[in-house]
Structure formats: C-alpha cells, structure tokens
C-alpha cells in the first residue's frame, strides 16, 4: 500500500489533472481532470486512478462467501437474509446431501444462520450454495457485524491478518464478505478476544502496517 500515493477525497473533488491519467473505479474524467465520484481513499498506480470507498452497503458478487439468516422456507429451498435489499435463495439441490422436500426444517429452520457462497447475483435474485468446504449451517459461536468495506483489511494481504488472529486466539473465524463474521473457539474468552481484535482493525483500518499494530495489540491484551 505504501508504494502507492493515497489521499482522502470527497465527491466532486479533482484528484489529478493531466492527459496521462485514466479514470478507474469511483472516478470520472472531465476536461482532462480526474474527478472523484465517492468519498474515500484515492489511489494512483500506473496513471490509473481509483477511489476506494470506506463505507457504504454491501454489494453482492458472485463467488462471495456470506453469512445469512433463514427468513423463510419455501417448497424447494430457503430464503436467506444476507443484509442486502434482495434476499438470497438456497435451493435444496445446493445442499451437499439428499434433502426430503417435506423435511426442509430439519436441515435449517427459520432464524438459523448459515455460511453460504453466492453462485449468481443479478436483477432476478441472488442464488446461494452450501456445497463446499466451510459452508453450511452455523451450530454455535458468536456472529457480529462490521462494515463490509472493512472486510479486506480484516483478511489482510494473502490472509495474513486473519491468520494472525486465528493463531493468537485459537478460534475458527469465517469472514462473510457481507460484513457478518463468525468466531468459534474453545472458550468464550477467546471468541471475545477475536471479536475485539477485529473491531480494533475496523477502527484502525486506514493505518499502514496494521498487521504489526494488531500483533502489538495482542501483546498488550495478554499481559
């Protein structure tokens, strides 16, 4: 991150001026000026300028792992609330074992929570699957919310941050791209510690060298 130039910009702000710059995500080019279309951090690399939002709602994308709550049972699957305006749908054929149409609630009932993957997201709806490693009904643990735009920081470069938290707390952690996080450990103390570490990251998400900061934070906490 430090090799790139980053600055905070507001909507309508001119970020760069000059023919050489190209407008990327969250920007537009007008009269040779790159203008921000969002509040966030502007980054430039190889003349491509983009603005990364630090806040805002979750936008579902194919391939995302998300955490949701069963809102409704239909004749052929489950309607899952994943915190988006449109609910997700998990068809019974997307469950990795045979499910009797009359026994849907035995697999998952209303208010149960689930880790699922988005297989498609378009105007017609969001389709989910729980076929795959780490997916399926959540049996226990703590689930809590963070802003979905902080998720990349929680995971860290090549998963370095989440690995650190897992090692320090001994917890299993599932980070839903929709900003819902599941932590599960041997002791509630450890789950709370993991949660607090994640909340620390969301507050400090603009700091560079955050992984070191978090390691330091753990040291302080364990004294």
């Amino acid at each position: 991150m430090s090799d790139k130039q980053r600055k905070v910009v507001v909507p309508g702000e001119v970020i760069f001026e000059g023919e050489e710059y190209l407008p990327g995500e969250g920007t537009e080019k007008k009269d040779n000026k790159i203008i921000s279309l969002k509040y966030g951090l502007a980054e430039e690399s190889n003349n491509l300028v983009k603005v990364i939002a630090l806040s805002g709602v979750y936008e579902p994308r194919r391939g995302n792992v998300v955490i949701g709550t069963v809102e409704l049972l239909t004749f052929n699957g489950w309607v899952i609330n994943i915190g988006t305006a449109q609910n997700g749908f998990l068809s019974l054929v997307e469950v990795p074992r045979y499910v009797n149409k009359d026994g849907l609630e035995e697999v998952m009932d209303i208010k149960d929570m689930v880790v699922a993957k988005i297989t498609s997201s378009n105007k017609r709806g969001i389709d989910l699957t729980i076929k795959g490693r780490g997916l399926g009904k959540i049996e226990e643990g703590i689930v809590f919310d963070v802003n979905s735009h902080k998720v990349p920081r929680i995971i860290g470069k090549e998963g370095s941050m989440i690995k650190l938290i897992k090692e320090e707390t001994g917890c299993n952690i599932t980070v839903g791209q929709n900003g819902k996080i599941l932590v599960k450990g041997d002791k509630i103390e450890n789950e709370i510690l993991a949660r607090e570490a994640i909340e620390f990251i969301t507050e400090k998400s603009f700091v560079s060298g955050l992984t070191d900061e978090v390691a330091k934070w753990f040291k302080e906490r364990k004294k």
């Binding site: 915190g83 929570m113 049996e139 226990e140 689930v143 809590f144 509630i188 789950e191 949660r195």
Partner: protein
C-alpha cells in the same frame, strides 16, 4: 420495526452462557453500568438541556416551560408533561411517523418516576391558584441506540430539570419574556434514578447493550429516589419467580446508589 439486524440466536446463547459465569462480553460485571457521560446546555433555547451518553447509547433531553391553566382537581399545582421519541436517526430499527409503543412506554415510565417520587414540588409552581401555573415539558429524544435508553432518558430528565432556569413571566402582559435573564431554579428534591434489571436465562444484569437487550427474557424498571421505590414497570412476556424478584429489587437498590454517586457532580 426492522428485524434485519436483531442479535443472532447463537450469539445470544453465548451471551447467556457467559453470564452464567457472571461475565459479560464487554468485561463488565452484571451489576455494572457503562461509563456515563454528561454534557449540559446543548440547546440555548431550552430552559434546561442535556446530552447523556451511556456507552454508545445517547439521548438528548430538553426542558421547556409554559404558563397554563391548572387542572380542575389540582388548582394550585404545576403540570408535568413527559414525552419520548425514538428517532429514526438513532437506529435503523426506528421508523418515521407517530410514536410506536416503545417510545410511548419510555415516556410514560419516566413520567411516572418523575411524578411519583415527589422530585418536583408542584405546589411551588403555582403562579395564581386556579388560574396560572407552570407547565414543565420534558422531551426525550434518542440519538444513538445501544440499549437501555430508558435509564439514560431518566438520567437526562433529572439533570435537565436540575439545570433548568424558570424563564421570566410577565404577569401583566401574560407572556414569557425570553430577553430577561432567567435565574430561578425549578423547586426540586431528591431525584429518582431509574434502574432497569434484565433477566437473561436465570441471571440478572443492568444497563444492557443492544445485544444483551435483544436476548433479554424480561425486564423490570425501578424508579428509586434515596431509599424509596416510587415507580415500577415490568416489561416483556417472560416471568420472574417471586424469590428472584426480591433479588432484582436488591440489585436495583444497590445499583441506584452507585449511579446516584456517579452523577452527583451534575446535580448542582
């Protein structure tokens, strides 16, 4: 109400299991309040006003006064009106429009606490018997919701009343002159402290966060001034065993003393 972000059941199970060990997620003991932060005089146009923060919960309370005709059954007493509004600004769960039940209940329970405790000397708020008395309005607004708005609202109400100054009333002109400096205080005595005890599983706690309040089975609010309980409201459908209820009373009494001490410096 928007049910989207209610605390998940599995998180609730953890909260209850941890409370079974006498512990809470934020490190508090079950009988411990969050940090109380008070900022007085947040609106120059109010006779008294205050911002109360209980952890991340935040309320604004203002006191306004007006001269009105007394009620026929109490011709020599001032009048109190307490309202509460759970503003949609403070939570995605609150909607615009006329107050819903939680806001109505909050206002009513605080009103009873203020009234029944004898905190306000209504007789001294009489200007001319049978004709003119002071009407005190206490208006409570939520600004950010993270549990226990009721106890926060009561703290705001008593501190706003304590800091209020009665405006200058011109009896000849029959109107309030806001240009003249108001110096006189509202006649008050020992303030009521509101303590809401929540039952989660078999255990009690006070001053819940949103997460804890979401998984509460029952709650009971006590208005306590000094040694006297002068208002009670049990809420939610869960029941409390008779012996457990006595425990709740002891807990509320103990916590009210701590909270009273905490806010002492704001009451002058």
């Amino acid at each position: 109400m928007n049910e989207e972000n209610f605390t998940p059941k599995i998180t609730g199970d953890r909260i209850k299991a941890y409370l079974e060990e006498g512990k809470r997620f934020d490190g508090r003991t079950p009988d411990q309040f969050r940090e109380i932060k008070i900022e007085k005089d947040i609106s120059k146009k109010a006779e008294g006003s205050v911002r109360v923060k209980l952890g991340k919960s935040e309320v604004l309370v203002g006191v306004k006064m007006k001269v009105v005709e007394p009620y026929a059954d109490s011709p020599d007493e001032g009048v109190l009106m307490t309202t509460a509004d759970l503003l949609p600004i403070s939570s995605e769960r609150f909607e615009s429009g006329p107050p819903k039940f939680p806001a109505i209940e909050l206002g009513r329970v605080i009103d009873r606490g203020l009234r029944e405790s004898g905190f306000i000397d209504f007789k001294k708020l009489c200007i001319k018997e049978g004709e003119k008395v002071w009407n005190i309005f206490v208006d409570i607004y939520s600004l950010n919701e993270d549990g226990n708005l009721l106890d926060a609202g009561m703290l705001g109400a008593i501190i706003a009343l304590k800091s209020a100054r009665i405006p200058h009333y011109d009896i000849e002109e029959d109107k309030i002159d806001y240009e003249k400096e108001a110096t006189e205080k509202i006649p008050l005595s020992e303030p009521p402290i509101s303590i809401t005890v929540h039952k989660l599983g078999d255990n009690f706690l006070v001053d819940p966060t949103r997460e804890e309040e979401d998984v509460s089975d029952a709650r009971i609010t006590f208005g306590i001034s000094g040694e006297i309980i002068s208002s009670v409201q049990k809420g939610e459908s869960g029941s409390i065993d008779l012996e457990k209820m006595k425990e709740a009373i002891d807990l509320a009494e103990k916590v009210s003393k701590n909270v009273r001490k905490e806010i002492e410096k704001y009451l002058d």
